[in-house]
Amino acid sequence: MRVTVTVNDQDYIRDVEPRLLLVHLLRDELGLTGTHWGCDTSNCGACTVWLDRVPVKSCTVLAVMASGSSVRTVEGLERRGGELDQLQVSFALCHGLQCGFCTPGMLMTARWLLDRLPDPSDVEIREAISGQTCRCTGYENIVRSIRHAAESERAAG
């Protein structure tokens, strides 16, 4: 079945089985392995990508359901010219990752949060990432990273 999808502003056409999940289209067909494939049960959030501008868990979306839509993955966070997104900078500075497995999902959800809410409280940050599981950090440094990114972006205007 034909799937036409725009990923990070680039158009792709692929013929796939209807049962192919979006996470596997991104990783196996398009080679975009930044999106991680974790629990496969829509719990852990490692596979979170934006589908038509909102984060969704791509292990629970069929690739054919995304046809005609635009997808943004962690590879699309980087700005033109290779400049990292402020969230990526802040995660690095504040040790917001250890093994890095949950990081793509954390980043995509956090980007969505800060786009809508530039000055979130810690409670709002924790609520926003409550669908993302991290087994290394205990979340403290992730919350700190997101807060740091928010403060940096507000300071930069």
Partner: protein
Amino acid sequence: MQVPAHFEYQRATSVEDAIALLERYGPESRIVAGGHSLIPMMKLRLAQPELLVDINGLADLGGISLAGDVLRIGAMVRHAELLASVTAGTHFPLLHDAERVIADPVVRNRGTVGGSVCQADPSEDLSAAFTALRATAVIEGSAGVRRVPMREFFHGPYQTAVGPAEVLVELQIPLSNSATLAGSSSAYLKVDRRAGDWAVAAAAAVLRIDRDSVVTEVGIGLTAVGARQFAAVEAEDFLRGRQLTGEHIAEAGDIAAQHCSPVADQRGPVDYKRHLAGELARRALHAAAARADLAIIGRL
């Protein structure tokens, strides 16, 4: 790797088209909305449809709006949209209470109200909420549109009144218990083991009291404790017509606990769940009463 078995996929172009596809392919065809119940079931082979009919593009099934004396919620409304709806929250605060504790924000971006209700999982939150609100399900098939009261909608775990070639179009909630009316409000309370988990137990309460604090309307819904049609009918019958006092609310909670049938599982034993059913019904009634009339709190 968990991947569903083979199936065919079609996008419906209208509700009529969806019904025609379901009729043509027979009972092995299924509608997919947000897919957050069905796709996991398909990965585990608990569901193995031969055809998926995708209704995500159907604008007719979207939207939250006031229409006459009801609030209508389209079947394709995402959980996040219901949680963000000022209209829904103003009239029925329990809808926002419930949505806040359904899964997590990312899942709520995709999962739908209609999909949740049609999945009819005994632990699903909106089923008890709509039951307490006495909502009506609007179901369309080739023979026309049927209206089924929520209290006749659930035929058992994972079974509903929606036939194999029918589509749930929307849910309608009567505005007669709107929180905008004096003496009327609602609340939903849930106990879960961790953020985003299914309920160990939860309770929904809808209340309307008159100037003398007599209960004129009451709806009590229970989640995950084996209540018939998710309703605590005996507790409702006890409270209706009685003065809203702390003692009467406590007794209503006891009655709700007595009449439900929880089963023991990894979320807890029967006596704990029964205790929660009673306690959460009490607390939900108190919360609804507090919202309905701040003056009454001192007397409860």
